[in-house]
Amino acid sequence: MNPEIGHYALVLALAVALLQTVLPIWGARTNDDALMRVGPSLALAFCGFVALSFAVLVTAYVQSDFSVLNVVENSHSMKPLLFKITGTWGNHEGSMLLWALVLAIFGGTVALFGGNLPARLKANVLGVQGSIGVAFTAFLLLTSNPFTRVIPAPAEGHDLNPVLQDIGLAIHPPLLYLGYVGFSVTFSFAVAALIDGRIDAAWARWVRPWALGAWGFLTLGIAMGSYWAYYELGWGGWWFWDPVENASLMPWLAGTALIHSAVVMEKRDALKVWTVLLAVLAFSLSLLGTFLVRSGVLTSVHAFATDPTRGVFILAILIFFIGGSLTLFAARAGSLRQGGIFAPISREGALVLNNLLLTAAAAAVFVGTLYPLALEAVTGEKITVGPPYFNLTVGALMLPVTFAMPFGPLLAWKRGDLAGAAQRLMLAFFLGLVAAGVAAYAQGGGPALTPIGIGLAAFVVLGAVVDVAERAGIGRVPAATAFARFRGLPRAAHGAALAHAGVGICLLGIVAETSWNSETIIGAKVGDRFPVGGYELTLARLEPRTGPNYRELVGVFDISRGGASVGSIESSKRLFTARNMPTTEAGIRTFGFSQLYVSLGDELPGGGLAIRAYWKPLVTLIWIGAIIMALGGVFSLSDRRLRVGAPKPARKAVPAAKPVAAE
């Protein structure tokens, strides 16, 4: 397909986005029905044009059309098809186009499924979405045009950065963007509410699923990014407190606070202003993340862009949206009606506590990430804020959050009974203590934080179980009834319990991996044998292989335990010929939830290779926990009360359960 079609489609998308910004909001101000109706059709047109533009760029990549500069710089005709496709967003221009595409799809979704939204709210929401569309399509066209041509066309491309030639690129950025940009919808709702000066009941119903969806995608995106870095970078680390990682963690923390405060708003009609502020903050932090990564402020694998005009452009976008929305918030927040009072010890109170601690954690990450940049910009002094800072601050804030987590769901709305909740958690608490004791014994000395962490993780997981069991009445009612009640529980309750259990599981993985991992760094020749965490590795052979666009040296290791062979592991170093760049492909083998991790280093002068081998106990729980969290989000999303329904015919009670009197 002719790349120029994609180029023109992108230009039209900008034109359409401009109209989408102006017409519906104008309609909402003048209460003009016809103008407000223009919003959805323009949002769909925007979606169509951006999608067409994206499709054209993908086609150019697949067909290796080297008359497109972006393809020349980031593709290679010998690359496997999958990496040709993913290479589309493995670079600055393409990834911004993906960003715009996700934005357009979400706008289109609001337009399609927003039939029951109040007309004014819908018009304002689409208008705000349109303005974000304007900013990003203009950014693409004016500073990062993916359709720039190069004539005469070269016969071969420069290939994609080899680190990115991985299945991870197919998954990580799209998930992350679904998360980042998902918060644009909650942002649009928040700003729309501020523009109109009122929050409808439909508002909370819409904001919660979008926040949940965005949060779920962001959770998966961050987890996937962490796993990718873990196996691709060859250091065996899964979180580096790298500014780019922090950039995704900040909106996640704000988003986590948002989904909790949205519950209060939906159920109790309270915390409205706070929820609006969180919705604004979550997207602002997403934009900030985009700025940090895209402007080239940070130098890392992610910063493809080093062009200062881009940085200035994104900074302008940032100032406009964050500054504008916060100003609007300051001006209008007072006019939003507050509602719903509650005692400090109550479900609402617990959620407020959660919100305060999570926002504080986000603030801590914010300071740690931006302070060095600001300092360098002002004084020129370079400092590094490293893991100790983040571990201390974020850790200190997350500890009470996780400890309080099991209590929240057991407290009643409005007025809770803390003693009662504590009583019901006694068993979980006791088992947590047992787990901590076992951990301390197994460890036999060492940092006291480890058993505490293990105990806390167990407490959180068991607390989630207790929550569901209590609701179903297990132990108090006959088993059949309890099971029926268990099934009849709102999916949101299941979702919350699952997500909370996921946090516990993740915590367990983090504590176990950081406390008990063992590392062997050794220079080995073929036939050498060395121990790693209870296993013995033997470098069986080294063999060169040739891939489609790389050559590699593969080390094959035999694994044995107590003399018995338990399989083998392959680890390799690749050299990508087009860019003459090496990558490491760590060899990973999973035993239960733990992993054996081997990566090849440089060749040593006396023959042989430097080899790093790690034993990482329970490390997979970190990502499994994150997936369970996201799964909890899915459950919660699928809860019927979250769908905005047209006035439905009164529905009969779920027949699965007979009415049972509560105790």
């Binding site: 023109y8 230009v11 039209l12 209460n31 029905d33 103008l35 004539i151 409808d200 009670a653 779920v654």
Partner: protein
């Protein structure tokens, strides 16, 4: 043309996205109050469901119902004051006009500023399938490369592609190709000279040890080879042995016919090291004899005069590619970078229609570091 058709259709679709919803229609929007009431009704239904499933007790369910009912009442009051949306013909016409005129003007204008509508798509497969006479240079090179990847022992192939690499400025590839040609076809003067020149171009005109070894190998193959002798002389000069350079070049000059294309270059080189220059068409024997007596300044003035004459001749009759190349080299040797660049520019104009000539000019410009 297909592109224009697509552009018109897309523009039409964008305009319709505005016009279609603007057509007069009875207000079917959901008013704020209605939407709120729908939500509250759903909440009441949920309370009933939870009550029925035994998830909440009777008192809690009553309390929740009361609260929702309170909210519903509040909305009903507010909604009574809320007018239904209307629409005005004036605003509608304005919006339609903006769509009809603004969209094509804005999109068309921006696209013409940014896009390249005259360029079609160039999928690689189609370019590779094109008939040889239609293929572009990049593709021709690639074809040979693909052939060589498949038949890495085809020495002839490397000999074909090496000069092309030189011409398009891929000196590293050229050196590698010559190395392969020498490995497969055996060492000969042509191959070794090619390798030496490629290395020379890579190092920006410095005869490195490797390059010198290549020229020596060329000379071993053919002691009379002028190229090898010239560059070995240059190596001696760069190593700070002008005497030796002068003797090598004088020997070469004696074997060089007066009309050889490299003759003027050789003369310039000879003059530079203060050696006698052979007669015509360059400086006469007398000139050269005089040159030896001259001070460095005068000598350079004499050389300059020769170069000026060449430049003048080319200005009158420019159809002499070798002349232009010689002129570029000469100015460069004299340290007149801007004049060399100027000569390159004039030569490009002269041979604008001849891609091969342009390639040679560009290659030389790159070799001399003039920027292309």
């Amino acid at each position: 043309m297909l592109l224009w058709l697509a552009i018109s259709l897309m523009t039409g679709a964008a305009i319709m996205a505005v016009l279609w919803p603007l057509r007069p229609r009875a207000g079917d929007g959901v008013s704020d109050g209605q939407a709120d009431l729908a939500v509250y009704r759903d909440q009441l239904a949920e309370i009933d469901r939870d009550r029925a499933a035994g998830l909440i007790g009777a008192p809690e369910s009553e309390a929740a119902r009361t609260e929702v009912a309170r909210r519903m009442l509040r909305v009903a009051e507010a909604d009574a004051a809320n007018r239904m949306a209307t629409s005005s013909d004036r605003r509608r016409r304005l919006a339609a006009a903006v769509a009809l005129v603004g969209v094509p003007l804005f999109a068309g204008g921006l696209y013409f500023a940014l896009g390249s509508p005259e360029q079609g798509g160039q999928p690689l497969a189609a370019r590779l399938d094109a008939r040889p006479e239609q293929a572009d240079v990049a593709i021709l090179v690639r074809r040979v490369e693909d052939h060589l990847n498949a038949n890495p022992d085809d020495g002839r192939g490397y000999e074909v592609i090496a000069p092309i690499y030189m011409r398009i400025g891929r000196f590293e590839d050229a050196a590698r190709a010559w190395e392969n040609a020498i490995r497969l076809n055996g060492s000969d003067a042509r191959g070794q000279n090619g390798l030496g020149e490629a290395l020379l171009a890579q190092s920006g005109g410095v005869v490195t040890a490797e390059a010198k070894a290549a020229f020596q190998a060329a000379q071993a193959d053919d002691p009379k080879d002028p190229k090898a002798r010239y560059f070995l002389g240059l190596a001696a000069e760069q190593d700070g042995r002008p005497q030796e350079a002068a003797s090598i070049w004088s020997g070469l000059a004696a074997d060089t016919p007066a009309d050889a294309p490299w003759r003027p270059m050789l003369d310039v080189a000879l003059a530079r090291v203060g050696a006698p220059v052979a007669p015509t068409p360059g400086p006469s024997a007398a000139d050269v004899a005089a040159a030896q007596q001259m001070s460095a300044e005068d000598r350079s003035a004499m050389v300059r005069g020769m170069v000026d004459r060449l430049s003048q001749r080319l200005a009158e009759n420019g159809d002499d590619l070798d002349g232009w190349l010689r002129l570029m080299r000469a100015w460069n040797v004299l340290g007149e970078g801007s004049k060399a660049r100027d000569a390159a520019a004039k030569a490009r104009v002269q041979f604008a229609a001849d891609t091969q000539a342009l390639g040679r000019i560009d290659a030389l410009a790159r070799e001399l570091g003039l920027g292309s």
